[in-house]
Structure formats: structure tokens, C-alpha cells
Symmetry: C2
Subunit: 640 residues, 2 copies
């Protein structure tokens, strides 16, 4: 029996164990769950997105119906569809080189490079459409956000191909940005309205070793929210009243106060995630524990007040973001796919600061639920918004006018391997379980770890250790928070978990021999999940979870109004793997009830409670919904 | 034991018993419930509204910050604040003449008359602000709506004072409107975007006997929704594309099809109510049963699909109106006070077409709950929106920019007497029970009915019949649908209810003697009300009702999060009259549970159901909420 969360006494940043991720290029993922999915992204999603961009004249500005009068429109950051696609394509190329892909990446890069100005400036909109408006509204116009995605693409492309074409251009651009923004006299004391460049600059610093990029990132984080407020001054410079800001509050972009003073996750959810990812990155690079503490404080707030059970975040359409504590409506949940992706990016960085399963648990929750729901099984249609209830009118689309989520999904999934392992000195940490082969360097020793598992459908993971010569090092296995009973053996000999487990990771340190086998068995009973009573939308309701998978009901399996269905607290549920349904999923089945409506023929209200009839409930994984005939969907089932 | 609704076989318009209301001037209302309330409206609300209008320069256009560029703004129909106030003031004057009120009414009328044009046209906005835009946009600009409230004010003022000043002006205006709109060559085939003039013209016809007004009203109803669509043509005449209509659909103003073809209540709720009030009025005046059938069909739809338990209607802020069947959210309920008032206006007219308690029940439900909530106990602050749940941030205000509800409340309550009785030949129908004295004419006989009762707190009503000489006639007493056990005596002798009851009214026909006494005892146990299972917002929840009063919980009495409170199905509840609380109310009390939150310290989700602690529940009448310290409010309580 393992406690389902680290104790709060362990949430101390001082007690952290940091580690560095093993690159995704060193981890080959396959198996019944991820094998087909990743092939689909590589073979369908990435080519389809390129075709969509060609069809929409992304690379031919003259054919586009651009014009400045269209503001406010999303088009101002359309170039990030290209750069996020480039990043995803680079990751695909890195693990499976393909000359045709190489060529179209070069074409896309050539297009981007054609936009670069003498001074290094490189932005599609402000070069082609509004050249006189450069840096005039970094609160709303996404200029630095675009630069961030450009930088991430350049780093990925360089690492995948060794080509410096985009990287060199991007360094020139970053050098130029560094001359524009900063605290020094003559520079603008600005920072982006949409965070992103901060984490990108850290990647650029890490790949180039150029400390200016780290300092610029640090400057953007430290300057954000300082008084006098840059966005006030910028608005006045445009002749506008700063209080006319359409979003009404600087919480929208987390610039209402300096991040060290923030105690709540607020505003636009993707922005918050990118901000906190950069804060966590900086906490790794700088000798400043207060950054880690700030991030941890906001993590606590998010996870105790503003998180959907699917790992979705940001409950409101209005600000694409956070509202108030416990306000987690299901039908109208925004829970943008990109925000759940951002949650993974941030938690991956928190995990690097401190190997604590809380972060890996959350990363896994988002991955298998609120992120994976964003992409169809055939890899060609997408959810932007991921509600936890539907009346049957919410469906994935092939492309969006604001198409941020599809390429974001592709870049996450094409680099999924980086989330599996991390190392620190003579220790290997295993964060995710999936059928895979990883090559990990411990000192001068190459260690191959082969995972064999039907995870997430089955909790048994067999890990074979291969190495040239025997060596002593630690392997730390995450015991997921959702698992209440785990067993572990090495070469058939049981390991006592409790003694060796710290922050949810069980450590096995020994002289490892080639061929040693670890077997981890994670019990995966069906769990009923209850939300905090203050979450009004979930009260009297239960969610079903098995392993990391959150379930939902669909009309396709339950031919009754889903909100007229009651799951008795005493009903037992069974899980059944169905290889032919929805690409192969474990279904949950059990006895439930439905309410008869016959006493309400004369009106909506009646002084007798409803009569119940038996109903055979069937639940499917949440991520797999909306693949059959349109109908209702419901995560939080009413309990009777 | 009385069945709680008429059987559906009785819902046949052919089987109707029509009757005519007894004028409010013939019914004096007093007693612990209504006495102080009506005095407050007379002495506080009406003077305060006049002061508010003076403060806002209603009567001095030159001081107002009007200008045409402000469109779209609500100001275009601001004159209806004046005319609805005039109507309310006239009703007040009619039952309690006051020379000072007479004088200020004359001042307001003088102001309105000063706007009248040579041709009879009389509108504040289009005379002062946009004289070139007369009749250019009757879809959105409320011109005919304003005319309707002007006519209602004029009729009320004439009936109250005998003065023809406003009535004559209004007849000239109506005559002019009759030359502008109609099917004859040269006339515009238009009708109002906001219904109101239709029912007003019928009042004008009834007071003047001029059949042209009846025909014009009939024309507006019949023309509405015909093709080619007038609002399409009107938009094109303005150079606009009709499909750019901001509301997106003509359902918004019920002009999507002719009313005889409509099967669902749709769009803006107040407009729907005013439309259906006029349809019911016309069904009384014209030999055309199809109008009654259309109204009845829409009544069935409303009451089985789109009605709040408080009598509130219109669940959405977006269109101030109806959405889809069973979509009755509580926290975000719009349920405009004016729409609940409109529901009373309509049901009062349906009741005149057919004495069926269904209409009186609904009138009573709206009156004691969703209407009365709209006005504070001191009569000086108002709800525009009446949600069934609040987080503590919704409060009555002293005035609204769009101040339609305060004067609407005042005119309803100042004419409340007209809803109590109706007559047909030798039959008197009693619809509402309240402490009052009524003078009713049956043939040449004057009959005085004195009701003594503590209703709605107590279900015993003692009715004394006074008359000059003995006479045979029928008295029909409504047995409310909420009442499952009623007893009736005449001079102490029991009457068998079942035999004498038709459509919920029990008939006593006898030779009445002066001093005869009827005693009606309506059992008022506390009822648990359950919503149709398709109403997702209320599922697993229960509302409490006692007599006609719907209850709610407030933080002021229940110091726990209201959505963490559970009322066990087996808990018994008691009612206690508390003379000192909230002006004297019956409270409900009982044993409930609250959910402990201590297992959720580490996150929002947990695999154990919440632990419950006992909680002493106290519920107050819904209408009385928001009179103490701000806090949560909840009508639909979770049942355990």
C-alpha cells in the first residue's frame, strides 16, 4: 500500500533532488498504445498540417488576404503555426530521418529567412503587413511570442539536422532583441504579453552557450509586473488609455505583479504555463531558490484549486484561462489542449528541479487525458477545447483559424521520449512507463533499459537492463500516486518498497549485471474519484479512473440521457480490454440506474423523487471520446 | 387528497369557461403579508422612482447626455420608464387618491405631451435625437414598444383620474400609427421588434370602444413572421444585410414564423410573454379558437420544458431569454423580473379564457417567488436578474441604466387586486387567497367578499359573504395544485370537494345569505420538489416548497459552503413562523449534513468519498434573499 500523495512535509524546495532529462533521441517508443499513435503523428499529422498551411497560403503572403485593418484577428501570430510545425517536423526527423521532410523543412525555413531584416528582426506580420508598428504593442501583438517559437524551432532543427541555417538567423534576431529590451539606458523595459520567448531563450542558451540569452530570459521574467507598468506606458505611447485594455486586467497575462509576489495561477492558461516553465528553467540555471519557491507555490495553488481531473486547466472561454477557485464547470470547460500541453512542459521542468512524483503524476494525467483527447485517432482532426461534458455538439476539426493546438500536439508527441527518464550522477529516474528502448549514459557507462508493458491497460512493467560491464548505480522507479498497491522484484527477488521510497520513487541501488530484470506491478483497480466538495460542478458526482486513464460515458454505449444516469455507491465495476473498439481500449462496465421521466408529463417539477430502472453502464477512456456517432459525453457521473 | 395538476384530458380549449376579472379598484388588500408590501410600493417605490428619474434628467432632454452616436444603447426606450411609472402611479392613485401625486403625474404627462408632433407621432428619442430615423428600424428601436407603454399609461391614468389629457393624445397617436401600418396599399407591413403595443391597443379598444385599435392589434399579431419578412426588407432599406442582424435569429423576437405555427417559446422572454398576452386577449375578443389553441400549445411547452421552479423564465443572459429544453442553469439563470411579471400578465389572460387552476397556480408561483424577489423589503432596490444560486456577488440595486423592472414591479403590485377574482354570469371565481375586501357585482347584486387569512404562511382562509338580500350564485374556490389535502366548510358544514371540483376549482352554488362564512383549509406541509431528470442543473437536488413559497438557503443561516451541504432523503423538516426575521417569515429547519474537506488538502481529487458531519439546515423564502450580509444562496439543495 502506497500513500496516494507525497506528504506535505516533503514539499520543501530545499530538499530537492535535481536531474536532467534523457534526450528523446535516445528513447525509442513502440507498443500497442504509443506505437500506432506516434506513427500516425509522423505519417499523417505532420504532412497534413503542412498541406493545410500550403492550402491556406502560409508561405505566399501575396496570396493571403492579409490586411492591417483586420486587427484584432489571430493572424498576427500565424507564423507560429509554421515554426511549431518546424519544431515538430525536426523532432520527427531526429528519430527517423527522411530526406523529403528535410527538403520541405528547408523550404519553410527559406521562407522564414526571406523575412529577416538587416538588423536581424524576423517577424512575418510586422514585416509584411504593419512594418511601422514594430514593438508598438507587445502586450497584444505576440511579437516576442512569435520570436520564442521561432527560436524553439531553430534549436530543434539544428539539433535534428546539424544545419545552422535557421539557428544562425535566430541568434542574430535574439542578439537584436537583446539590444531593444533591457534595463540599460536607451532600451525598452518591456516584456511579452504572451510568454514563450523566456523558455525559448534558455534553450538557445543551452545549445549555443551564449549567456546573453540566459540573461535576457531572466530580464523578461524579473521585469514582468514591475511598476511603473510597461504596458501602461506602451498604451499611452499609442495614444490609448491603459485602462481600456480589452482583457480588463493584467492578470490576463500574469503581469499584474512580479512573479515572486504571485500566489495564484491567473489569466490565460497557456501564458501562465509558459511563464512558469521559464521560471522553473531559470531556477535550474541560476543560484536563486526563490524562483523555485515561487513556482512551487503556484503549483500548490493550481493543483488544489484550479485543475480538472483530466489535467485540463483554464475553465473559461472568455480569457481562455483561469477564473476563481473551485470554478470547474464541465459542459463549458475551456481546458485548451495547448494549456494541458503547457502543464506537461512546466511539470517536466519542475521534475528536473526535484524528482517528486507529484510532477510526474500530473504530467501523466495531462498526457493520457486532457492532451491526448486533443487529437483524433487518425491524427488529422483536433480539439482546441476539451470539455468534460458534451450535449453532442462538440467535435474535433481538421484545422482552426487559430491553429495553435495541432502543431503543439505534434511537437509534444514527437519528443515524448524526453519525458521518460532523467539522470543525476549515478542515478537513473524512470518517470513514465511505456513500451520502449532507452539508451542512458551513467558516467562513462552506456545503460540500455528496455521496457516491456501493455501500460496503460496493464500495470505490469518488465524492465531489462543491458550494459557492457557490471556497474553500481541507482534506478529509481516512480510509483504513481494513483497506485495504492505496487510490487517490485529484481531478478525475481522482492524489494521492500516502503523503505526505499522517497517522494514516490523507489530506489534500487546495486551492482547491475547485463540482463538484470526489474518487474514492477502496479495494481490498477477501477477507482472512484471524488472532487473537493467546493467544486460545485462535481458535487454528488464521481469520476472513474483506472491507472492513469480517466473515463467518460458516451451515448454510443449508453442509450439514456447521461445526466439521468446514477451509479450506486455500491455497484461493482469491471474492466475489459476490447482490442477492436476505438483502436483497442479497456472499457469499464457495471450496473447503474436511470431515472424514469413518466411522472413529469404535466410539468417540470414534481413532489415525488424519480423512479429508477437498471442500466448497464459502459465507460470509455476520456481521450477516446467523439470517435463514433455524435451524442452526449460525461466524465462526472452522478452517484446514487 | 387533491391531484396536483389538472389531468391532461382537461387541457382542451373547447371546454373553456371564460370569465372577466374584477377590477383592482374593487379589491382592498391588507394583512401581514401584503399590507406592508403594498404600502411600501405606494409610499417608497413610486416616489423614489420619480426622484431617480428627476435625478437622471428624464424630463429635461437638454440636460441629458443623449446623442445619436451612442447607439446601440438602451436609452432609445427610456421614455417607458416614465410611462410605466405613470401607469403604476395611476394605479396607486386609483385606490388611494393623493393630490400631490396627481400633480406630479400631470407634470410628467405635460412633458410627454410636449413631444407630440402635428401628425400625432409621440416618441421621445425619435423626436429629440433622431427625427430623420422615424420607423427606420422597428426591429431594434422599440418605437412601437414605447407606444404600447404610453397607451397603457394613458388608459390607466384616464381610469384613475377621469382626465383625458393623455388618453386623447394617445388616441391621436394610435390613429396615426394605424395610417402607417397595415396590409392596405401604401402602408408599411411592419410590426414591432419588441411586442407590447398589441396588448396595449386592446386595452385602448376596451376603454374607448374604437374597433380600429382592436383590428390594428390583430393585424400586428397576424402579420408577425409572415414572408417576405418585413425585418429583411427594412434592413435592406437601411442598406444593411439582413443576415447581419445582431441577434442572429428572428426567434429572438418571435418573428421567425407566424404565431399559429410556433410550437416552442423562444427568444427574448419578456417579448414572448407580451406577445402571448396579446394573443390571449385577442382570443377573448375574436371568434377564432385557433388563437387560444396556439397560446395553450406554447403554455404546454413553457411549463414542461423551460420554466424555473420560482416562476422565472429565460435562462440566458445572451438573449435575455430562452435557450433549449431543460437548460435551466441556476447560478447563471437570467430569469428577468420583467419576464416573470410577463408570465403573470399572460397567465392572467389565459385564466380569463379558461378558469383552470394551472394558470392561477403559475401566476401565484411567479408572484410569490420570481417576481417578489425582484424588490427589496424597503421597496427601493431591485433585482433585474433572479438567479437560483449565488456565490454572494449578486445584489439588488437602486436603479438600473435599463430600468425596466422597477416600474414594472410597481405597476403589477399596485394593481394586484385584479388577479384575485373574476366573474361570469352568476359565478364568482376566487383565484388568489390574501387578506382583503372585495366588492363584486353579480347581475344587479353587490356581493362583498372578505378574506381573513395569514396566507401564504397559513393555509386557512375564512371568507365572509355580505350582500343586501339573499341570492343564488356560485362561488368557485381554487384548490392550488401544490395542495394535496384541502377542507372546505360553509357555515361549518363540510363540502365534498371531489364532486364539486372542475379544473381545480371547487364550486359552491347555493342561496347565499348575508353573513355566510366559507372556511377553506389548505394543508401546507413542507414539500420536496424534484425537477425532471433532464434538467441537469437540478439533478440529485431537491427544492423545498411550502404552500406557494419556494425556499432557499443563505449563508446568513448556514455557515457552510452551500454546495457542500446534503439533505438526506429521510430528514424531517419543520416550519416555524418567525415574526422578527426578514419582516416576518416562516422558516424551514431540519437536520442535514455537510461534507468535510480535510481529505482534499493535497489536491482537488481523492479516491474516497467525503465524510459527512451533521448540520442544522435553515431555509428562508426565496423572495426574501439578499437582505442580510452578502453570502451564498442556493435553491436546489443536494439530496443525500
Amino acid at each position: 500500500m502506497v500513500s496516494s500523495a507525497s506528504s506535505s512535509s516533503q514539499h520543501d524546495a530545499e530538499d530537492s533532488r535535481n536531474s536532467s532529462p534523457v534526450a528523446f533521441t535516445a528513447v525509442t517508443i513502440d507498443g500497442i498504445f504509443w506505437g500506432p499513435r506516434l506513427r500516425t503523428v509522423r505519417e499523417k499529422t505532420i504532412p497534413t498540417m503542412y498541406e493545410q498551411m500550403q492550402k491556406s497560403s502560409y508561405f505566399d503572403v501575396s496570396q493571403r488576404n492579409w490586411n492591417a485593418a483586420m486587427y484584432p484577428v489571430p493572424y498576427v501570430f500565424w507564423e507560429t503555426d509554421i515554426t511549431k510545425w518546424l519544431e515538430a517536423a525536426s523532432y520527427s526527423f531526429a528519430t527517423q530521418p527522411d530526406p523529403a521532410l528535410d527538403a520541405i523543412m528547408d523550404t519553410a525555413i527559406e521562407f522564414m529567412l526571406s523575412l529577416q531584416q538587416e538588423d536581424g528582426y524576423l517577424n512575418l506580420w510586422f514585416t509584411e503587413i504593419q512594418p511601422d508598428k514594430r514593438w508598438s504593442n507587445i502586450r497584444d501583438f505576440h511579437e516576442l511570442y512569435c520570436a520564442g517559437h521561432l527560436i524553439e524551432a531553430a534549436v530543434a532543427h539544428f539539433q535534428a539536422t546539424g544545419k545552422r541555417s535557421l539557428l544562425d538567423a535566430v541568434c542574430r534576431y535574439a542578439d537584436y532583441i537583446d539590444t531593444v529590451f533591457g534595463t540599460e539606458a536607451g532600451k525598452r523595459r518591456g516584456y511579452p504579453g504572451h510568454e514563450e520567448i523566456e523558455l525559448a531563450l534558455i534553450k538557445l542558451y543551452r545549445v549555443t552557450g551564449e549567456e546573453r540569452y540566459l540573461r535576457l530570459s531572466h530580464y523578461f521574467i524579473e521585469e514582468r509586473g514591475q511598476q511603473p507598468h510597461y504596458f501602461d506606458a506602451e498604451a499611452r505611447a499609442r495614444g490609448e488609455d491603459p485602462t481600456d485594455f480589452w482583457a480588463k486586467t493584467y492578470e490576463y497575462n500574469q503581469s499584474h505583479q512580479p512573479v515572486r509576489e504571485q500566489h495564484e495561477v491567473v489569466g490565460h492558461a497557456v501564458r501562465e504555463m509558459y511563464l512558469l516553465s521559464a521560471v522553473a528553467d531559470l531556477a535550474r540555471e541560476l543560484p536563486d531558490p526563490s524562483l523555485h519557491k515561487s513556482a512551487e507555490r503556484l503549483w500548490q495553488h493550481l493543483t488544489t484549486k484550479r485543475l480538472y481531473v483530466t489535467g485540463g486547466i483554464g475553465s473559461s472561454t472568455t480569457n481562455e484561462g483561469f477564473t476563481s477557485d473551485y470554478d470547474l464547470p464541465n459542459l463549458t470547460a475551456y481546458a485548451e489542449t495547448c494549456a494541458a500541453i503547457g502543464l506537461i512542459l512546466w511539470n517536466h521542468r519542475m521534475l528536473q528541479l526535484d524528482v517528486d512524483r507529484r510532477y510526474a503524476d500530473l504530467m501523466e494525467r495531462a498526457l493520457y487525458n486532457g492532451v491526448l483527447s486533443g487529437i483524433s485517432q487518425d491524427g488529422t482532426s483536433f480539439f482546441y477545447v476539451n470539455p468534460l461534458e458534451s450535449h453532442g455538439d462538440h467535435h474535433r476539426q481538421g484545422w482552426y483559424n487559430c491553429a495553435c493546438c495541432p502543431p503543439n500536439l505534434a511537437r509534444l508527441l514527437m519528443s515524448l521520449g524526453q519525458y521518460v527518464y532523467s539522470t543525476h550522477d549515478a542515478d537513473i529516474f524512470i518517470h513514465l512507463y511505456l513500451e520502449s528502448s532507452g539508451n542512458i549514459q551513467i558516467g562513462s557507462q552506456d545503460v540500455a533499459l528496455k521496457q516491456e508493458t501493455a501500460y496503460p491497460w496493464d500495470g505490469t512493467v518488465r524492465i531489462t537492463v543491458s550494459l557492457q560491464e557490471a556497474a553500481e548505480f541507482g534506478i529509481h522507479l516512480r510509483i504513481p500516486g494513483w497506485c495504492r498497491e505496487a510490487q517490485l522484484t529484481v531478478n525475481g527477488t522482492a524489494i521492500a518498497l516502503a523503505e526505499q521510497t522517497h517522494k514516490g520513487y523507489t530506489r534500487i541501488t546495486r551492482q547491475w549485471q547485463n540482463g538484470d530484470t526489474i518487474e514492477l506491478t502496479l495494481a490498477m483497480p477501477i477507482e472512484r474519484i471524488y472532487a473537493h466538495p467546493a467544486v460545485a460542478a462535481d458535487s454528488n458526482r464521481v469520476a472513474l479512473q483506472r491507472g492513469p486513464i480517466v473515463y467518460c460515458l458516451e451515448s454510443a454505449d449508453n442509450a439514456v440521457p447521461l445526466n439521468a444516469l446514477r451509479l450506486p455507491a455500491t455497484s461493482s465495476l469491471e474492466s475489459v480490454f476490447e482490442p477492436t473498439i476505438l483502436g483497442g481500449v479497456t472499457l469499464l462496465k457495471g450496473e447503474a440506474l436511470t431515472l424514469a421521466t413518466d411522472i413529469w408529463t404535466d410539468g417540470l417539477y414534481h413532489n415525488q423523487p424519480p423512479v429508477c430502472h437498471p442500466h448497464r453502464l459502459v465507460a470509455i477512456p476520456y481521450y477516446a471520446w467523439d470517435h463514433r456517432q455524435p451524442g452526449q459525453m460525461l466524465v462526472w457521473i452522478q452517484e446514487a
